[in-house]
């Protein structure tokens, strides 16, 4: 960890002003990812601007029936917030599937979006990594890549985004409220994270010096037919091999609307509109789900160690859709898969 200056932001405007005045400053809120990376010298900010005391900790209903979630609401508070548990249980499930309760108590909602990959080469400064050091090469392409991407990867980077929460936020059409030197703007969640292309050092489409102030959820929470299923190498406290968020609106025995997104498979939370469209109007059965899963994985590409994830993702997609349709969402504590 290198020497850095520390300062506290007094309000959002001050935070933006402070970060714009420094060349390599970072915001810190929960710190669960940033301090980890600073200890390994992967992140080397010369200034940390502490935003943890900013008044962005409210969860409020919006005029159109949605929810406005302050960027600093801790993950655990969000998971157990009555409005979330009641109207957006998919979000609650996903949060509870990630990390540990201690980390969820610390981590902020906004920070969750900005988690960096767990790719081992990104963390190990003794190895090349385009994300950490652009142009140095991707070691995972020919290395330990069991956890890596099967969708949307590039020759420059096959890392995956590690968040659980984000998988559900993209599925639910959330919006990201940000503030920056040029003012405030709203980014559709779908456009928030980037694919690696040849700029894998950029995880998101945030502009320099922007700060996330809130996440907005639309009114529709799919509280009746949803499930978040996370498949991992041990039964808790592990990153996803594959995770699936599924949400259905059923009417008259048919799917009126479907949402489907995957985690652990790509550089960003992976939503597949084509699969959702294919489900629309269908009877919620194995045939329809298998077709949707095929669409999800149509362009999947595996590498020697992670080829299994393609079939796993397919099966997990079908299973999660089945859970959602039956109204038997995967519970966070019982490890038997419903």
């Amino acid at each position: 960890m290198i020497n850095f200056q520390y300062s506290r932001a007094t309000d959002v405007a001050d935070a933006v002003q402070q970060i714009a005045a420094s060349t390599s400053a970072k915001f810190i809120a929960g710190g669960t990812n940033l301090i980890d990376l600073m200890k390994d010298d992967v992140e080397r900010p010369t200034r940390l601007i502490d935003i943890s005391r900013l008044p962005l900790k409210q969860v409020q209903q919006t005029a159109d029936g949605g929810l406005h979630i302050g960027a600093l609401v801790p993950n655990s508070d969000l998971a157990y917030h009555p409005l979330i548990e009641q109207h957006y249980p998919l979000v609650s499930s996903a949060i509870r599937a990630g990390a540990s309760q201690q980390l969820r108590n610390m981590a902020s909602t906004g920070g969750n979006l900005l988690q960096r990959t767990r790719c081992a080469y990104f963390y190990d400064t003794a190895t090349p990594c385009n994300k950490r050091e652009p142009g140095s090469g991707c070691s995972a392409l020919t290395g330990a890549q069991r956890m890596h991407a099967i969708l949307g990867a590039s020759e420059a980077c096959i890392a995956v985004h590690p968040s659980d929460l984000c998988v559900t936020l993209v599925a639910l059409d959330a919006k990201v409220h940000v503030a920056g030197p040029a003012g405030a703007r709203v980014i559709p969640f779908q456009d928030f994270h980037r694919l690696p292309g040849n700029t894998p050092h950029l995880d998101t489409n945030l502009h320099p010096h922007e700060i996330i102030t809130a996440i907005e959820l639309p009114a529709q929470g799919f509280a009746k037919n949803y499930s978040y299923l996370k498949i991992r190498d041990r039964l808790s406290y592990a990153f996803a091999l594959v995770s699936v968020a599924a949400a259905l609106e059923l009417e008259g025995g048919k799917i009126k609307q479907a949402r489907l997104a995957l985690g652990g498979v790509a550089h960003k939370p992976w939503r597949v509109h084509a699969a959702e469209a294919a489900l629309q109007g269908q009877v919620p059965d194995g045939t329809a789900f298998a077709r949707a899963a095929d669409l999800v994985l149509k362009d999947a590409k595996g590498y020697p160690h992670n080829m299994f994830k393609i079939d796993l993702a397919r099966r997990a997609t079908i299973r999660t859709l089945t859970q959602a349709a039956k109204g038997t969402p995967q519970p966070p504590s019982n490890k038997k898969i419903m």
């Binding site: 330990a144 039964l235 406290y237 898969i337």
Partner: protein, 734 residues
């Protein structure tokens, strides 16, 4: 008198551990302590061409940077670096000694600073210019270089021929990857400079006297006296048997600055210490149609370093456990550019018996015999290798009681036949075996006239419960309430003890305490006889016992004198006895512990997610001193076995010769959610031959066979035999 032995007494160090008062190696604070940080090699092999510490030295608060070019003097001969449990063959690694790089993560410099954060920062500024050399880190790619290491187990008959002629054959290769002990405590040392050439070393170790002897040899020229202390050890599982490099570096720092120094390794740096070697196990079992064995061929190929030859007994267990007229064992090693492999919980047996018991399961399938029934048909009442009877062997009872508790008779033998909704249910079993070892240990008892005793010994308690069983034995032998016993352990100035390992400490320390307690009794008897009109006048040592704070005649409980009276008569306020206990060498019997493990797994049929829902471990290990702490040891071993079966693997990238999951997030060990119902049964196994108290030890036996039982259960559930650990869900679909 056994008021405490055999009872589930709570740990006497429990309060210290739940309140945070228990101090571990990195917890001994001092004003003006200097903190160290290690600069580790990022290549596996080569030389340091140049090391530039100038930028690190510029950092405010940095006091010194030690390198092989700039460090206090160290011994120059291999012998100095050979600790008590170093492999016989080879040249031990010498920390910070010269420019040679022998493995990735090797310490190349030690930055010393006023605080940890400064040292850590400055360490990133040390520039190392390498002269990299070609290296090998891949066992599979180096199999052609495997060479045979001799092992004591003799072949019987002609195993190759018998295998070829056998009615039913099973041959397969099993693989155990590199595994790390990963005790929760980071390896650490705090060295306090006491002045006058004396250093007190608080070290994370399983053997304070081993470290003391090791440091004394390395620094013979510069340090007059080392005292090594390790009252609490945050887990070790074998990782702390040999002195680790951080203790040498910490001493170097203290000598260089003449100040007290602390060095705590990072979790990543601990992956450059010892590990359970990746091992290939090849089994070829030949059977007769009736389920008796005709041939056992067992070959193991394991990893060691280029500079030391570490190996344990992987193969001999096969010939020991089961009756077979023909056996052949081969143990091979492959040298790689990695640190030397090391003992890790049940070394040799955890790996070798995993393979054996997996192969026996496969043989049972081939024979269409119940796996338990096959073990019974191959059961042997004698050590087959040595053709010796056992001091005791209650394995039959383990099989029976374990099967009953588990409900084994309800098992449908057909794979994929048992279900629970979307889950396939699998039941598997395996046998475990370990040695009942015992070592010379000395103990001291200081008995005070008020009926309190302090028992001391250099032995460690690495979480095994040594403090507690020592107190139990002492309380019983001295006839005092356990609250009146205090125990001091793990200080190199205390009476002699070897490293705590191999499951030998319970038996060894107990007998040391019992033996010196007898001396106390005899001394008290002398005092009693000196009292005029003594009620114990004619008694010999064996005629009296200590009970209820008194010396009592065994024949006539009415004839007794209280300890306080005796000591008053003798004009003593305290009595000190110390004795080294050794065990009679008796080669007429085999001494082993045994177990039967039954495991239930549930596997999601579509997704392959595996859960270990139930484990029953029935253990025969002689007299159990404390079923509470011993039960915890076996339960914890089962958890370790779950990790071995399903989770644990150090993932190498051979392109860099580096471990890519050198942490505890991706080197998966079981977490709470992975562990469900574990039942531990200790079967009755009276044994007056193994040693007077009938103790065999339980530290290793609990893990042996667990991975096989789980692997066999996974096969039974899914019909898929996975022979390379860990069994991750992708292997079920492959």
């Amino acid at each position: 008198m056994t008021a405490y032995i055999g009872t589930p007494a709570s740990r006497i160090d429990g309060r210290a551990k739940v309140t945070g008062e228990a101090r571990y190696a990195a917890d001994f604070n001092e004003q003006n302590l200097v903190y160290g940080a290690v600069v580790a090699s990022t290549i596996p092999k080569g030389r340091i061409k140049h090391i530039d510490v100038s930028q690190a030295l510029r950092v405010a608060g940095v006091l010194k940077v030690l390198t092989h070019q700039d460090r206090p003097q160290m011994a120059a001969d291999d012998d100095a670096y050979k600790d008590d449990v170093a492999p016989e063959e080879g040249s031990p690694y010498r920390p910070l000694y010269d420019d040679k790089i022998l493995f990735n993560g090797q310490p190349l410099a030690l930055v010393l600073a006023d605080d940890w954060e400064t040292a850590r920062f400055a360490a990133t500024l040390v520039q190392v210019d390498y002269d990299a050399a070609p290296y090998v880190t891949d066992l599979q790619a180096q199999l052609s270089t495997a060479y045979v290491v001799p092992k004591p187990e003799k072949p019987r008959g002609d195993a190759a021929k018998a295998y070829a002629a056998a009615q039913v054959r099973h041959e397969a290769e099993y693989f155990i990857p590199t595994e790390y002990h990963n005790p929760m405590e980071l390896f650490a040392s705090t060295v306090h400079v006491d002045g006058a050439g004396k250093l007190t070393v608080y070290d994370k170790t399983q053997g304070v006297q081993n470290v003391q002897g090791y440091l004394s040899k390395i620094f013979a020229g510069s340090v007059q006296e080392f005292r090594v202390i390790s009252p609490f050890v945050g887990g070790a599982f074998g990782a702390g048997l040999r002195p680790q490099y951080q203790v040498v570096l910490t001493v170097l720092g203290a000598l260089a600055l003449d100040r007290s120094v602390r060095l705590v390794l990072t979790r990543q740096q601990m992956y450059a210490l010892g590990y359970r070697p990746a091992t290939i196990e090849r089994l070829a079992l030949g059977a007769n149609a009736d389920g008796t064995l005709a041939a056992i061929n067992h070959e193991a190929i394991a990893v060691t370093s280029q500079f030391e030859e570490f190996s344990r007994n992987d193969t001999g267990w096969s010939g020991l456990l089961y009756k077979s007229p023909n056996t052949k064992f081969v143990h091979k090693l492959v040298r790689l550019d990695v640190p030397t492999s090391s003992d890790m919980r049940a070394p040799g047996a955890a790996t070798g018996v995993y393979a054996l018991e997996s192969a026996m399961d496969e043989l049972a399938v081939a024979l269409d015999i119940d796996p338990l029934e096959l073990r019974l048909r191959c059961y042997s009442d004698r050590d087959q290798n040595e053709n010796l009877p056992y001091t005791s062997k209650a394995l039959h009872e383990c099989y029976r009681q374990g099967a009953d508790a588990f409900g084994w008779s309800q098992r449908n033998p057909k794979p994929r036949s048992m279900r629970d909704g979307a889950d396939l249910v699998g039941w598997g079993m395996a046998t475990g075996v370990w040695e009942a070892l015992q070592m010379p240990v000395a103990a001291r008892i200081v008995l005070t006239a008020n009926g309190h005793a302090e028992v001391s010994c250099a032995a460690s308690d690495i979480g095994t419960g040594t403090y507690t069983i020592v107190a139990q034995v002492a309380a019983d032998k001295l006839g005092l309430p356990i609250e009146n016993i205090s125990v001091k352990l793990a200080d190199s100035t205390l009476p002699q003890a070897p490293v705590e390992g191999g499951s030998w400490m319970a038996a060894s320390a107990s007998h040391a305490v019992a033996s010196v307690a007898d001396d106390i009794r005899d001394e008290l008897l002398k005092l009693a006889k000196a009292v005029s009109g003594s009620p114990l006048a004619g008694a010999a040592g064996a005629d009296v016992t200590l009970a209820g704070g008194r010396l009592v005649s065994r024949k006539d409980a009415g004839r007794a004198m209280s300890i306080s009276d005796l000591m008053r008569h003798g004009g003593l306020d305290r009595m000190t006895k110390e004795k080294l206990n050794t065990f009679a060498q008796d080669h007429s019997h085999a001494r082993n512990t045994h177990s039967a493990i039954y495991a239930e797994v549930k596997v999601d049929e579509q997704l392959g997610v595996i859960r270990v829902t139930r484990v029953v471990s029935a253990v025969a290990a002689g007299r159990i001193l404390n079923p509470k702490t011993a039960g915890s040891q076996v339960m914890g071993s089962v958890v370790g076995g779950i990790g071995m079966a399903l989770h644990e693997e150090a993932v190498y990238d051979h392109a860099f010769g580096r471990i890519m999951n050198a942490n505890v997030a991706e080197y998966h060990m079981p977490v709470n959610a992975d562990v469900h119902d574990i039942k531990v049964i200790f079967v009755d196994e009276p044994d007056d031959q193994v040693n007077p108290l009938g103790i065999k030890g339980v530290g290793e036996i609990g893990i042996v066979g667990v991975a096989a039982a789980i692997a066999n259960a996974v096969y039974h559930a899914t019909g898929k035999r996975v022979r390379d650990l860990p069994i991750t869900l992708d292997k079920l679909k492959a």
